[in-house]
Amino acid sequence: MSEVQTAADVVAVVLMLLGAFLCLTAGLGLVRFPDVLTRMHAGTKPQVLGVLLIMVGAAIRLQGWSATWMLLLVAVFQMLTAPVSAHMISRVAYRRRHVRRDRLLVDELRAETRPDRVYRGDEPADAPPEEPGQALAESRREDEAR
């Protein structure tokens, strides 16, 4: 029994050390990287993998199912919310030009031709009116012709 206990403790401690190491790398990346997107790339490492490792380690060490279920809840919650917040932050970062465009290899959001000005849901109240582009105007003409 005690040998099993010792082995479980060793596994738990190793998992916690790995998670803590990921937290350190997140801090290093936050300081070293050049713009918001790369900093977010580094900063969200411990958000999923680090928290998962530490939760597994703590669940091994803690006895009783109530603590385990609550740790599982935290892990699932992290995995559900990390993509949402990352998406929102990176979208705003791109639109406010906090992205080093000269360091991007692929920039799919850059508009090549004359842009459409279409509301995306987060415009201020005094924003200029929508100017949908050629595709929308064309389809409207087709509708009127029909």
Binding site: L17, A20, L30, V31, R39, I54, F77, R97, R117
Partner: protein
């Protein structure tokens, strides 16, 4: 076990300190949001490590609150900044109110060269 204590808390503390450095330096509000998010995650990890090492399950409900707070905080600040956007008339990119500090520094470096 004492070595493990020092090592784990040292790693977590150094990570939190570096996140605090980024929180102070900025330069943009979004950098601070990312740094705050990371800091809260590191705090949650520290609480979980404390719970695990001390076999003390009383701090586990605090973990749920901290992770919820990180999500709600970053999303609400992102929405708040998104409401300040102006639509662009030029190249199809939305223009933020000020010019971003990253592009300014990059341009000044190019000028110096």
């Amino acid at each position: 076990m004492t070595v493990v204590y020092w090592l784990v808390y040292g790693l977590l503390g150094t990570g939190a300190l570096l996140a605090l450095v980024r929180l102070g330096l900025g330069p943009s509000l979004l950098d601070r949001v990312v740094a705050t998010d990371t800091l809260l995650v590191i705090i949650a990890a520290g609480l979980a490590v404390h719970a695990g090492l001390e076999r003390d399950p009383t701090v586990v409900p605090v973990l749920v609150v901290v992770s919820l707070l990180a999500f709600v905080g970053s999303v609400s600040v992102a929405r708040y900044i998104g409401g300040m956007l102006l639509s662009s008339t030029g190249d199809g990119q939305d223009v933020g109110l000020p010019e971003s500090a990253e592009e300014r520094t990059a341009r000044s470096l190019e000028v110096e060269r």
